[in-house]
C-alpha cells in the first residue's frame, strides 16, 4: 500500500513539474513583452538579458503614444469591434432562428450550401471584398472595417445548433398563448441561449480586435488604422525602438488578457464546441 502511495506522489510531483515548466514557457513572451515595456533603451539591449526592469515608469508608453496615435487606433478598434459584433450578433440571432424554427422552401438545401461556404478561406474572399468596398466608395473609411462582417455563417451555425436543442413544445406552448414568432424569439429563445450567445460574442470580439489582414487592405489613412495594423505600421515605418514596440504591444494585448481571465470558461467552451474561426 505504502509503495503505491509513494509512486503516486512522485507522479504528482512530475505532473506539476512539467505543467509549471510548460506554463512558464507559454507565458514567457507576455512576461518579456510587458517587462520590456518598462525597460530603458540601455536595459533592453543588455546581454545577458535583464530579467526585471530597474524601474516601472510609464515613460515608454508616453513616448509610444506621442510617436504614433495609438489612442486613435484604440478608439478605431473599439468602434469596429463594437459595431461589427453588434450587427453580426443580431443577424446571427435572426438567421439562426429562421434556420432552426421556421419553415421555408429549400431550407435544408440552403443550410447545406452555407456549411460548404464555411470552409472557404477568408484569404480567398478578401480579394473580391477589397474590390467591392472600392466600388461602393467606402474604401479607406471605418465602414469598410464593419460592413463586410455583419453576418457570419460560422456563428449562425453554432447558434442554430443551440436553438435546435430547445424543445419545440416551448414554441407550441407560447403559440397557444398567442405569442408571435418575434416575441417568442426575443423573450424565450434568446434568454435561454444566453450562454451560447455570450460565447459567440466573445469569440467574435476577439477575432475582430486581433484582425490584421483586412484592416491592412481596407484602410490607408493613419487616423483610420486599428491597433494591430497601427502597431505594425509603427514598426515598419519608423524603425521604432524595441522598448516602444513592447509598450505598444502591451496596450493591444492587455484588454484581451483581462477579457480572457474573466471569461475563460465561456471562451474555452466555445472553442471546444465549434472550433475557432479562421
Amino acid at each position: 500500500m505504502k509503495n503505491i502511495f509513494k509512486h503516486l506522489t512522485i507522479g504528482r510531483v512530475l505532473t506539476y513539474f512539467f505543467l509549471i515548466i510548460g506554463a512558464l514557457i507559454m507565458v514567457f513572451p507576455f512576461y518579456w513583452m510587458i517587462t520590456g515595456a518598462f525597460k530603458t533603451s540601455l536595459e533592453i539591449q543588455m546581454f545577458p538579458p535583464q530579467w526585471i526592469p530597474s524601474s516601472f515608469s510609464f515613460d515608454n508608453f508616453k513616448e509610444a503614444l506621442e510617436k504614433a496615435p495609438f489612442a486613435t487606433y484604440f478608439i478605431n478598434s473599439v468602434i469596429a469591434m463594437v459595431s461589427s459584433v453588434t450587427l453580426c450578433t443580431i443577424t446571427t440571432i435572426l438567421g439562426a432562428f429562421a434556420f432552426s424554427k421556421l419553415n421555408f422552401p429549400g431550407r435544408h438545401i440552403i443550410f447545406g450550401l452555407l456549411l460548404g461556404l464555411m470552409m472557404v478561406p477568408f484569404e480567398m474572399i478578401v480579394i473580391t471584398n477589397y474590390r467591392t468596398i472600392i466600388d461602393w466608395g467606402i474604401y479607406n473609411t471605418l465602414l469598410a472595417l464593419i460592413i463586410p462582417f455583419t453576418s457570419s455563417i460560422f456563428y449562425m451555425y453554432i447558434l442554430k445548433g443551440f436553438f435546435d436543442s430547445i424543445p419545440d413544445s416551448l414554441y407550441q406552448a407560447a403559440r397557444v398563448d398567442g405569442c408571435s414568432n418575434w416575441k417568442y424569439l426575443w423573450r424565450v429563445m434568446v434568454p435561454i441561449a444566453k450562454p451560447s450567445l455570450v460565447t459567440i460574442i466573445l469569440l467574435n470580439a476577439i477575432a475582430s480586435w486581433n484582425s490584421f489582414l483586412w484592416p491592412m487592405l481596407a484602410v490607408v489613412d493613419r487616423e483610420l488604422r486599428t491597433l494591430p495594423f497601427g502597431l505594425y505600421a509603427f514598426v515598419s515605418e519608423g524603425g521604432a525602438k524595441t522598448e516602444l514596440m513592447m509598450a505598444a504591444s502591451t496596450i493591444i494585448v492587455i484588454p484581451m488578457i483581462i477579457l480572457f481571465i474573466f471569461a475563460r470558461k465561456q471562451i474555452v467552451n466555445g472553442v471546444a464546441r465549434g472550433g475557432i474561426k479562421g
Binding site: T15, F18, L19, G22, I25, M26, V27, P29, F30, M33, G36, F47, P49, L94, G95, F97, A98, K101, L102, N103, F104, L117, M119, V120, E123, M124, I125, I127, T128, R131, T132, T150, S151, M156, D168, Y171, R175, N181, W209, N210, F212, L213, P228, L231, Y232, V235, T242, M245, A248, T250, I252, V253, M256, F260, R264, V268, V271, A272, R273, G278
Partner: protein
C-alpha cells in the same frame, strides 16, 4: 399499424405561419451579408481566375483561358511558397500535436490551480499575432535575445534567427507551434473529457502504471480527436501569413519565406498594377488543397459522432 411521424407536430404548426413570408424578415439581414461578402466573392474569384489579362481597374479582359494557372504553376515564387507552406505544416503539426497531447493529459488530471494553468496555456489564443509576434522578434534578437542567451547556457553558438535564411524558418516554426498549442490543447482536452473514466479504473485495477495507461488507453481512445485536430490545424497552417509581418516585416530574408497566402497577397496588393488574375488563380489552388483536407475532416467528424 399506422405510426404517426413523431416530428409531425412541429412541422405542421410551422406550416400555419400567419404570414407565409414572415421568414424573410429573419433571413434577409443575414443573407444579404453572406451573399455579398462570402458567396459572390467566391464565385467572382473562380471566374476571374479564368480571365486572361484581367485589368483590375477597368475590369476588362482579353478572353477566357488557363493563362493565370499556367503562369502561377510555373512561377518559382509560387513553387517556393508551396514548398515553404508544406514544410511548415510538416514541422508544426507533428510537434504541436505531440506536445498538446502531453499537456492536455497533464491538465486533465485532478490538479490544483487548474484555472491558473489553463489561463497560462490558452492565452496565446486570444492575443494579437502582431503584438505577440513583436515580443518574439525581440526574443529572437541575435545580439540581445533571450533565445541565444539560453542556447549559450548550453554552450551552443548564437543563431541569427531573423536575418539569415537558415535561421528564420526555424524561428517561424517555433512561433507557429507556440501559437497553435492553445487551440490544440483545448480540443484534445475536450476529447479527453469524453473518455469514460471507467476505462482508467479498469486499467488501474489490472495494475497498469501511468505510462502504460497513457499509451494503451488514453492515446488510442483519443486517436479520432487527434486526427481531427491535426486536420483542422493543417488547414490553418496552410494559411500562415500574419506571423510573417511581426517577425520579419515580410516574407523573410531575401524573400525566402513566401507562403501560399503571402503569394496571393503579393500578386494582388504589392504588385502595381495588381496582378489580380494570378492572385485569384493561386487562391483557387489554395482552396483546392484546403478543400481536400476539409473533406477529410468532415469524414472523421462523422465517424466521431457515430
Amino acid at each position: 399499424m399506422k405510426q404517426v411521424p413523431s416530428k409531425s407536430v412541429s412541422r405542421f404548426s410551422l406550416e400555419k405561419l400567419k404570414n407565409k413570408s414572415e421568414w424573410l424578415i429573419y433571413l434577409v439581414p443575414f443573407a444579404v451579408g453572406v451573399i455579398i461578402f462570402t458567396l459572390y466573392p467566391i464565385i467572382n474569384v473562380f471566374l476571374t481566375s479564368f480571365k486572361e489579362n484581367f485589368n483590375y481597374m477597368t475590369k476588362e479582359f482579353s478572353g477566357w483561358g488557363l493563362g493565370n494557372y499556367t503562369y502561377v504553376l510555373q512561377d518559382p515564387y509560387f513553387h517556393q511558397a508551396l514548398k515553404n507552406t508544406f514544410f511548415y505544416v510538416f514541422i508544426v503539426i507533428p510537434i504541436s500535436t505531440c506536445l498538446a497531447v502531453l499537456i492536455a493529459t497533464l491538465l486533465n488530471q485532478k490538479i490544483k490551480f487548474s484555472g491558473l494553468f489553463q489561463t497560462a496555456y490558452f492565452l496565446p489564443m486570444v492575443t494579437s499575432t502582431i503584438a505577440v509576434g513583436l515580443a518574439w522578434r525581440f526574443m529572437f534578437n541575435y545580439k540581445s535575445g533571450v533565445f541565444n542567451y539560453f542556447l549559450g547556457l548550453f554552450g551552443i553558438d548564437a543563431i541569427n534567427w531573423l536575418q539569415v535564411t537558415t535561421g528564420n524558418f526555424p524561428a517561424l516554426c517555433i512561433y507557429g507551434i507556440w501559437a497553435i498549442l492553445p487551440f490544440t490543447i483545448i480540443l484534445l482536452l475536450s476529447g479527453l473529457q469524453n473518455i469514460d473514466p471507467m476505462y482508467y479504473t479498469a486499467a488501474k485495477v489490472d495494475g497498469a502504471g501511468p505510462i502504460r495507461i497513457f499509451f494503451k488507453i488514453t492515446v488510442p481512445l483519443l486517436m479520432p480527436t487527434i486526427f481531427l485536430v491535426m486536420i483542422v490545424n493543417t488547414i490553418s497552417c496552410f494559411k500562415v501569413f500574419n506571423e510573417l509581418f511581426p517577425l520579419f516585416s515580410g516574407p523573410g530574408v531575401a524573400n525566402n519565406l513566401y507562403t501560399a497566402v503571402y503569394y496571393i497577397y503579393y500578386q494582388f496588393r504589392i504588385q502595381i498594377p495588381s496582378r489580380y488574375g494570378y492572385a485569384t488563380a493561386a487562391a483557387v489552388i489554395l482552396f483546392g488543397i484546403i478543400f481536400v483536407f476539409t473533406m477529410l475532416q468532415r469524414i472523421i467528424e462523422k465517424k466521431l459522432k457515430n
